[in-house]
Symmetry: C2
Subunit: 411 residues, 2 copies
């Protein structure tokens, strides 16, 4: 552990090759935002883009904008911007629907491809909404759903496993799987593999093609900064695309949607995974938001993420040692994704007190304060000041005030 | 048929009780927009609302806006605004996903409720994307799917029919079903009934509760003016709500989504029909757009719609008699929904020529020019001038120019 001072921390910002990216984002004056893993802030280009969509494209162009403003191509063109972020080819990714709906689609597709196999495997501690969908699909298809702890996943994947579905990063602890190793080992048993990248895409380099991943899904509103409830995306490896038989067979996935043909004929390639009419406002916002990644080296993002996370862990353990915090994310930065989770019996109230002082993280049961690490707009001094604030709150026992323990629906 | 003159037509506008509603919409200068049944124009309040969402709520409020700006309640609050438009109670409607995804949800729910019955019935000429979904569900559930012509539907619905699924208005002809009579007759056989209201909601009074409808879906971007690819909605009759077992069991339909519980427990009431995180930009636009309906009497809308449609039919048949147009929508306004469809062998080229002159309708195979009738912002003089333009185009044979016969993807 370095003997940190504000001056040393400022030195890290001065040496930061990503420092100038911060001006691409709108961040409220004085706020330290450590919740970009839950909802990314607004990239500066989004407001103007949305105003153009609303005023010119919808307002003046009306129905003609489906062609003239290329609304109809947004699922594909946004997909093409997402592709390098997750290590895919442009025609392997498409933006559409929500993560949960997309998980349903790819899971149903995987079960058709691996027909005859009787098990779906996931992790007990997987992101809850994913497990709700996985169990629903297992129930629908009459398959067994196994959800062992993370360290026993590969023991359970066998020759009867149709599909392994995992979230790359654990949302509670920030630990993450070795995506490539797990994919290969599951493939050795003939299982198809689906990854949910919601908590990793945009925060660390990914290479789905090199890893041989079959399917992936993810959301657009966390590290990708696409806005509240932004469209999600899905990835299908090129080799599997023509084997997908869409269950959600809406017109946008038809080979010729504007023929209004009586019979469904799936489009070629990734397009058949579309269903209904895309929401253009959300698509345009995500499209503009992704421009922030245009010339970003995700290896650089990852390096800074690890540094920022290490600094946060160091400072909390050094400066707040007497307050009973327990860093539950891995101390080894190479094993920790882009968040730091810190447990405390009064975690909820402490987080509310922090938020009231302009340091925004969030809270997840049991007792977990989550701090999102978002290298494109977070400064090292933000981490310094956040921990100073945490220390003040603990020292003054501010968090004991009754208003900080009243549970709210969402933080 | 009246002997129409421009003066007589202007008289209709002067007497129109809905005339002042036009100023609630942004309509490009000089354009006559007869495609509001495909994409409604922008209500004036939407731009300011979206700017507030983007700049204040997302930009400044960030994650806290899920509570503070009530983002989390939008599916329900938008549903509550939709409820009176379709004759439902506020807790019976929720805004979410796309029409196709919602049709999948309610169809799966209906099949579970009517388990053991072996048939789904729809109409051969139903809106194609609905039939794609219906056949996919039939295939998934191992049921027979019957799609007779419209006049034979009730012969086919029998004691083996789990569900009847129909679109209220035929998108090609503008004819519409007697929703209440069909619902009651299908109920007599024990079938559940699902209506797609995409082409009627906002254009005519609907009373789902009085008609005893079980489920309904519809889109937000046609007569409801919610914007391109606006969120869709779904309706579940109160008595059936607790029998719905969601297949798309995402976290937003959970009884306590923010508990992140390991097991799925459906919310009570309509909420369990939600799946993933709602797209807030699209939701907010639809929410603001629906304010245009706040004090609108849909009986008044219907009266004006019939008058406008009659005027269009009269003028085309009177002033363009020699050009071979065939009005395929019912001449009897009480049997015609809010569009007029006119066939012509050169319909595609004629429509393109009209659009080039600022009269925007659309075209659907075979040979059908569609004119949407949207009483909240359409004037009687718009219909007069549209037909004048049509006459000019036919007389000058403008539509024979080669550029008007090149097919585009979307009109």
């Amino acid at each position: 552990m370095a003997n940190w001072t504000l001056e040393k921390v400022e030195g890290l910002d001065q040496a930061d090759p990503l420092a100038e990216k911060r001006r691409l984002f709108h961040l409220p004056e004085g706020l330290i935002y450590l919740d970009g893993n839950s909802l990314g802030p607004r990239p500066e280009g989004v407001a103007a883009r949305l105003a153009a969509v609303v005023e010119d494209e919808w307002g003046e162009g009306l129905i003609g904008s489906w062609n003239a403003a290329k609304w109809i191509e947004l699922p594909q063109s946004v997909g093409a911007k997402l592709a390098p972020i997750i290590g895919a080819r442009p025609g392997e990714v498409i933006a559409c629907d929500s993560t949960s709906v997309n998980l349903f689609k790819v899971l149903m597709a995987a079960l058709t491809i691996n027909k005859g196999r009787k098990k779906i495997v996931t992790e007990a501690g997987n992101f809850p909404t994913d497990n709700y969908i996985i169990r629903s699909v297992a129930n629908l298809a009459g398959l067994e759903c196994l959800a062992p702890p993370a360290d026993r996943i590969l023991e359970v994947v066998d020759a009867h496993t149709a599909c392994l579905v995992l979230t790359h990063v654990n949302y509670r602890t920030g630990e993450f799987y070795d995506l490539e190793a797990i994919t290969r080992k599951a493939h050795d048993k003939g299982a198809l593999v689906i990854w949910d990248l919601s908590h990793s895409a945009g925060a660390m380099p990914l290479d789905l093609d090199r890893a041989g991943v079959d399917f992936a899904v993810g959301c657009g509103y966390k590290f990708l900064n696409g806005g509240p409830g932004a469209p999600a995306y899905l990835f299908v490896a090129e080799a599997l695309q023509d084997k997908v038989q869409p269950v959600l067979s809406g017109w946008m996935g038809h080979a010729r949607p504007f023929d209004f043909a009586a019979d469904y004929e799936p489009a070629t390639g990734i397009d058949r995974n579309l269903c209904g009419t895309p929401g253009i406002l959300g698509m345009a916002a995500l499209d503009a938001a992704l421009d922030a990644f245009a010339d970003v080296d995700l290896e650089e993002v990852r390096r800074k993420s690890m540094q920022l996370g290490d600094l946060l862990v160091d400072l909390v353990e050094d400066q707040c040692a007497e307050y009973g915090f327990n860093v539950i994310s891995p101390h080894d930065a190479t094993m920790r994704a882009s968040q730091v989770s810190i447990a405390h019996p009064q975690g909820y109230a402490i987080m509310q007190a922090l938020i009231s002082k302009g340091v925004v993280g969030d809270y997840r049961d049991p007792e977990i304060m989550r701090f999102g690490i978002t290298p494109l707009y977070l400064r090292f001094v933000d981490i310094w000041h956040a921990v100073q604030q945490l220390h003040k709150i603990m020292e003054a026992e501010t968090w004991r005030r009754p208003e900080f323990s009243e549970r709210q629906l969402v933080t």
